[in-house]
């Protein structure tokens, strides 16, 4: 037993070191005083101060958060509808096409989705004059389109897990289907909707490629700004920015994990 355990244990250590050392190094070097990013020049928070004074970065961050919040909310609504259709409506005209259109964004390379949407927006502009300018609205539409597919899959898998008998009972007792969905189905899938929203938010905040395609002059999201800086080499203020984002994510995931853990415990007790 021991020989195997040693191997597994060392692989676990190696794996987590591999996953976390790069992140830790970014955090440590964000406090580096030296402009040369790989030379240690003592501790300092100058890059954080520089970051807070950098209007471009702050504007880009604000734009990214706004797009992420709007697109995640719309994607959750549309994705929940789509998940409901996939799980509860077994046969309708055009179901095959619908399933395909939900599955395709999940496997489609970002470059292709981005290219397709840009060509679409350009053609549409030539045809009907809308969108007159590409920017926040086109990025938001693009993000809704790919993240609603992720939400739909989450909702669908949650709905197939839960028993339909509650819904059937309510229908048998004479409740209108709209009432049943509102009063029974939605409360049950609420946690799945929350995780769907969080996933959509993160996907939108993370997206570089699709945004680069469908954006226009004047609309630079945070990943686009980071990419243009990082392409030329390492930038110390990006280390500081990365540290802040990593901190936010870790706190968020930690809280979510803790809540889920408590829910599980209270379920096993009762």
């Amino acid at each position: 037993m021991n020989q195997r355990s040693t191997f597994i244990f060392s692989m676990l250590c190696f794996g987590f070191a591999f996953l976390y050392i790069p992140i830790l190094l970014v955090i440590i070097y964000s406090f580096n005083d030296s402009r040369l990013v790989t030379v240690w020049g003592g501790w300092s928070i100058r890059w954080y101060i520089e970051l807070l004074n950098n209007e471009n970065i702050l504007n880009a961050a604000l734009l990214s958060f706004r797009i992420a919040a709007i697109s995640a909310t719309v994607a959750t609504i549309f994705g929940t509808m789509a998940g409901l259709i996939l799980a509860r409506l077994r046969a309708f005209k055009g179901r095959l096409l619908f399933t395909g259109m939900i599955a395709a964004p999940l496997v489609m390379p970002e470059v292709i989705t981005g290219l397709a949407l840009l060509l679409f927006f350009v053609s549409l502009q030539n045809l009907i004059g809308w969108p007159s300018q590409r920017g926040m609205n086109t990025i938001t539409i693009a993000h809704i389109t790919f993240s609603m597919a992720y939400v739909a899959v989450i909702i669908q898998s949650r709905l197939t897990e839960i028993n339909e008998s509650l819904e059937e009972a309510a229908l048998d007792l004479g409740a209108r289907p709209a009432r049943v969905i509102w009063d029974i189905t939605l409360p049950i899938i609420l946690p799945a909707m929350v995780s769907g929203w969080l996933l959509a938010f993160t996907l939108s905040l993370d997206d570089l490629v699709i945004s680069s395609f469908v954006s226009g002059p004047g609309a630079t999201t945070l990943p686009m700004l980071i990419f243009s800086k990082v392409r030329l080499g390492i930038a110390p203020d990006i280390n500081a920015l990365a540290t802040i984002l990593i901190l936010l994510v870790t706190i968020g995931v930690g809280i979510a994990g803790w809540i889920m853990h408590r829910q599980k415990q209270s379920k096993t007790i009762s």
């Binding site: 020989q3 195997r4 191997f7 597994i8 692989m11 676990l12 190696f14 794996g15 987590f16 591999f18 996953l19 976390y20 790069p22 992140i23 970014v26 070097y29 790989t38 549309f78 994705g79 509808m81 259709i85 509860r88 409506l89 077994r90 309708f92 619908f98 259109m101 964004p105 496997v107 489609m108 390379p109 470059v111 292709i112 290219l115 397709a116 060509l119 679409f120 350009v122 809704i144 609603m148 059937e168 229908l171 209108r176 289907p177 049943v180 969905i181 993370d206 570089l208 490629v209 990419f227 392409r231 390492i234 990365a242 984002l245 990593i246 994510v249 870790t250 968020g252 995931v253 853990h261």
Partner: protein, 307 residues
């Protein structure tokens, strides 16, 4: 089994409700997902011209007022004639394939270790696999730039402990792309493997070793065959996005790292050849979709042949 949304045809109000729920996401996807692809298909059949937009229209009104369709397969012929594209496709598949295999070799023991840990530790380890997944992809790739640079941290460390006496050329090479790919997609590999290995019935392993199987044999003959679905799921989740990857080769790869996502991006933004870029996109979609359809068909057929 009556579905919630199936027997809604009792009243007009219910029907209207159902149709609204179906129509909204359906129309959205038709408009913003399907229509764009049809446009890509259309543009891939057009000639490039110097104008805005830079391609010839598909329909053209001739003098007598009738419409005629202008299509050309030149862009596709160009793809097959220029060996660059063929080499790039092969190179993307190779890079994605090798990194998937390496990630499987690294991820499998990790997933196994997590699945065999006692309960409180297991949840914490799982959370630790998930956290990097939520951290920006771009920033995680960027983190490796500082490590792999010629005067970077890895070379500094290796020089310091004396394994090498010349700094290694790592950043802007294929090696850096492999490291970046494995690093970025490792959670995608570990999670499905874990989900599979966690469900594995320990009694089967005990039975095998009670019957005299050595530890290696138990793994080879029981654990490994039972975890094949997890292996396939993990490999697909990693291989499919890895083929079209843009950020990793753009940041970590060298000028000679050919990946199709990058060529497409450059063809579009640097050369501004939209028709050829569209043709590249269509071929890439076919290369990705056909194997997926084939696999799904095979999976659907399997239960029939078994029963």
């Amino acid at each position: 089994m009556s579905g919630l949304l199936i027997n809604l045809d009792n009243s007009f109000r219910d029907r209207l409700w159902k149709n609204t729920i179906v129509a909204i996401p359906y129309l959205w996807l038709l408009l913003f997902f399907l229509a764009p692809f049809l446009i890509v298909l259309k543009i891939s059949l057009a000639d490039p011209i110097v104008a805005q937009p830079p391609f010839t229209p598909l329909f053209q009104e001739s003098e007598n007022g009738s419409f005629s369709i202008f299509t050309t397969f030149d862009n596709y012929l160009y793809l097959f004639q220029d060996s660059l594209y063929f080499i790039t496709y092969l190179s993307s598949v190779k890079l994605a394939f090798i990194s998937t295999i390496l990630a499987l070799l690294i991820g499998y023991p990790i997933a196994y270790g997590i699945a065999r840990s006692p309960q409180p530790t297991r949840n914490i380890l799982l959370l630790m696999v998930v956290i990097p997944f939520w951290i920006s992809f771009l920033l995680r790739v960027y983190a490796w730039m500082g490590i792999l640079k010629t005067k970077g941290l890895l070379n500094g460390f290796l020089l310091w402990i004396g394994i090498i006496d010349q700094p290694l050329e790592l950043l802007y090479t294929d090696t850096a792309v492999y490291i970046g790919m494995i690093y970025s997609y490792l959670p995608f590999m570990i999670l499905p493997l874990y989900a599979n290995l966690e469900k594995l019935d320990v009694r089967l392993l005990e039975a095998a070793s009670d019957l005299g199987a050595k530890r290696w044999e138990v793994f080879k003959d029981v654990t490994l065959p039972l975890s094949v679905p997890g292996i396939i799921a993990g490999c697909c989740l990693m291989f499919i996005p890895a083929i079209g990857e843009y950020v990793i080769p753009a940041l970590l790869g060298g000028a000679d790292t050919l990946m199709i996502g990058r060529v497409l991006f450059d063809e579009f933004f640097l050369n501004r050849d939209w028709p050829v870029a569209s043709a590249v996109a269509i071929v890439l979609v076919l290369l990705l979709v056909l194997p997926i359809v084939y696999f799904q068909k095979k999976q659907n057929e399997e239960p029939l042949t078994e029963s």
